[in-house]
């Protein structure tokens, strides 16, 4: 048997919007079957995974806090991926941003340098965070553009290097002198901490970066020449070159945006949620964001929704461990299935399948 793909005569906006929804439903059905095999009620699991987290104020806040870094990173990745640049090292850029921005939080600890006022600390931390991410992303970008080294591998290898470097910093030079030699830094001063929006809640100011960035990115993609250049450089590099675009400049810009947003996500997480530097500051956001980028089909608005969906599975996954004693790895497996379904649905929205027996492909 062979499968043939036949382009659908007309692209349908509705079909393309619906395809990830259908994918989500299929993934949920597959997950339900697995849950049933494990001897739990699929309906109860669905309730715990997808309904309960959305019905309580605190879990809604938890979802927003979890989704924000995923969305920020994924929007940046969309620029790279649209330009056909496969940055999979956002995790490292997140750490670089968190570390560089967090450094200012350490330096200004205990009111140091705050005699001149403290209004500048948070903005400066955010800028340093962005800078850290940009600089770290420039390594694979430069290697790719100038030396044609696979950015997939270099960006990934640099993740390990970033993790180990942060580990060294927090265990060594940056550790809290009063911390009994445990690997933590001091807690940031309130002046270096992004404020919580509602008393007693977890929603911090940094979460708002995500919707703002989504709106800006959506405008950039649809309304600016740069957005057009990025898309063209990815879809048909030859045409882009004929059009006189500088593809090297575009590549650097895409990596810079991607790294900068990952760095911003990093410092927002460090300053808004953690409040200090730890040996590990990311539970794999940089990798989960890749799923988000594809869930959202590389469009900023789609990514916004995709980030929320993935955050729901994380929060719901913990609820499922508590309420149904389902293993935590279920969440990981489900995310893999979801991504596979989305990728398949994406193709099916644009092509029709023709099955035929025999014949060569």
């Amino acid at each position: 048997m062979r499968i043939d793909l036949e382009a659908r005569p007309k692209r349908s906006a509705l079909r393309e919007i619906l395809s990830p929804v259908v994918a989500l439903i299929v993934a949920i059905v597959i997950g339900g079957v697995v849950v049933a095999i494990m001897g739990r009620s699929p309906l109860a699991a669905f309730d715990v995974y997808f309904v309960e987290p959305l019905s309580q104020s605190y879990s809604l806040q938890a979802i927003a806090v979890k989704a924000a870094p995923l969305i920020l990173i994924a929007v940046g990745l969309a620029f790279c991926y649209r330009a056909n640049l496969w940055n999979i090292g956002a995790e490292g850029q997140f750490i670089a941003g968190g570390a560089l921005g967090g450094w200012l939080g350490l330096v200004t600890h205990d009111g140091a340098y705050q005699a001149i006022g403290s209004w500048w600390i948070l903005p400066a931390m955010m800028l340093l965070g962005i800078l850290g991410g940009v600089l770290y992303a420039m390594i694979p970008a430069a290697l790719r553009v100038w030396l044609n080294v696979s950015e997939i591998l270099t960006s990934l290898m640099l993740v390990y290097v970033a993790q180990l470097t942060l580990d060294w910093l927090v265990r060594g030079p940056w550790k809290d002198p009063q911390g009994f030699n445990f690997p933590v830094t001091v807690n940031f001063d309130p002046e270096a901490t992004l404020p919580i929006l509602f008393d007693g809640g977890t929603l911090h100011l940094g979460v708002l970066f995500a919707p703002i960035v989504v709106i800006i990115a959506a405008v950039v993609f649809s309304k600016t020449i740069f957005g057009f250049q990025v898309r063209l450089a990815g879809s048909s590099p030859k045409a882009a070159r004929f059009g006189g675009f500088d593809d090297k400049r575009i590549a650097f810009a895409a990596f810079a945006i991607s790294g900068g947003l990952a760095g911003l996500a990093g410092i927002a997480e460090v300053s808004g949620k953690i409040g200090q530097l730890l040996t590990t500051i990311s539970p794999g956001y940089g990798f989960s964001a890749i799923i988000v980028a594809f869930l959202g089909r590389l469009s900023p608005v789609g990514i916004f929704i995709g980030g929320l969906v993935l955050a729901v599975t994380f929060v719901g996954g913990e609820d499922a461990q508590i309420a149904l004693k389902l293993p935590g790895d279920m969440t990981l497996a489900f995310q893999g299935v979801l991504l596979i379904c989305v990728l398949a649905a994406d193709v099916l929205a644009r092509y029709r399948l023709r099955f035929r027996l025999g014949g060569k492909a």
């Binding site: 309580q56 938890a62 977890t202 953690i274 409040g275 461990q321």
Partner: protein, 357 residues
């Protein structure tokens, strides 16, 4: 929007209270692990402790809830979710959970929290840890007697005080039975990567070590010792079935009795925030049966263990000289203070290595 939030918050509170009321009959205890319960090391031993307590207390407690693989930077939500789901007492088993637990404990004054290996406490946040180093002293003594090459291989994860005090205690023990024996240290920068731990073990064996000890989680180093016909010590759990001919003993974490006792205190209403740091004496650290050694070494090890348990033998009895030969004791002190052991970042005299900084 504001109104909606308030309504939602009220609903959440009602739910939380409903949960509390329901659990009043039964104490609900919950655990948060940093690793997978399947690591057969640190998190696994805590989970064994949970199961032990559940068995001891029967239907007086509901100890079926745990979250595994919780990243430290993302743990605040995990604790909050557990607190809201009606847990009466929550154990967090990793040092990195410290500040998140402090935050969540403040938010939920009616829920009791217990943090392992940390130092920040609150009225509803207790701390507990085990004097793992005590077992390592006994291991050092055994190693001194059993080594033929006078070289002991020591595989370690990260230079944190718990690991450093373990190395120092081992050296203190080693010195007493064999002043010529030396420790060779290899840092693998991971708690759990069987392949890398095995590589480190093989490298140490190739470098002349004939006894291995480890402060990482997997059974791989001990199995390498077994394969090479050399000796070694288990870590966290009794690993004798992985190395029946190599394991001399194992420094095991035994959390069950502690968990049982603390849950009983919750049931009786006598729970209060405190700092617990127990060792061999209270059974929180236990040495696996002494095997693969002559009777006289075994007798010595048993006597040392008993002396540590009774408090007769102090591992860091003054003077305690560091590598530069300087006495680290406070003047007039009989032993190092707990705070000094808890924050150890220097090696005792006799170790030919530098703590990586």
């Amino acid at each position: 929007m504001r109104k909606f939030m308030t309504a939602a918050a009220a609903a959440a509170l009602t739910l939380a209270f409903a949960g509390a009321a329901e659990a009043a009959a039964k104490v609900k205890a919950c655990w948060v692990y940093v690793g997978p319960v399947g690591d057969f090391g640190y998190s696994y031993q805590h989970d064994q402790g949970r199961l032990y307590a559940a068995k001891q207390l029967g239907d007086k407690v509901d100890a079926t809830t745990y979250l595994e693989n919780v990243p430290e930077s993302d743990s605040e939500r995990a604790f909050e979710q557990l607190a809201r789901s009606g847990c009466n007492i929550i154990f967090g088993t990793s040092f990195g959970f410290m500040d998140p637990m402090v935050k969540v404990a403040k938010k939920f004054p009616n829920v009791k929290f217990e943090h392992a290996t940390g130092y920040k406490r609150a009225p509803n946040l207790a701390t507990y840890a085990a004097r793992f180093y005590e077992g390592r002293y006994v291991m050092g003594q055994i190693a001194g007697k059993m080594t033929k090459t006078n070289t002991i291989g020591y595989i370690v994860s990260f230079p944190i005080p718990e690991v450093i005090s373990g190395i120092n205690a081992f050296e203190q023990g080693l010195k007493t039975t064999n002043p010529n024996a030396k420790i060779k240290i290899v840092w693998v920068s991971t708690w759990m990567d069987p392949g890398k731990e095995a590589d480190a073990a093989k490298a140490l064996l190739a470098g002349g070590a004939d006894i291995l000890t480890q402060h990482t989680d997997s059974t791989a180093p001990l199995q390498e010792a077994e394969k090479a016909g050399k000796l070694g010590f288990g870590q966290s759990s009794d690993m004798i079935k992985f190395a029946p001919k190599a394991q001399l003993t194992a420094n095991t974490d035994n959390w069950g009795p502690y968990y049982t006792q603390r849950l009983q205190a919750v049931i009786d209403g006598t729970w209060k925030s405190q700092d617990t740091w127990d060792g061999i004496g209270k059974g929180m650290v236990a040495l696996a049966p002494f095997t693969n050694m002559p009777d006289d070494v075994k007798a010595m090890a048993e006597k040392t263990t008993a002396d540590i348990a009774s408090g007769k033998l102090q591992i860091f009895a003054c003077p305690v000289l560091d590598q530069a030969g300087k006495d680290q004791c406070k003047s007039g002190a009989k032993t190092l203070e707990d705070g000094q052991i808890l924050g150890m970042n220097w090696y005792v005299q006799g170790i030919d290595d530098k703590i990586p900084q």
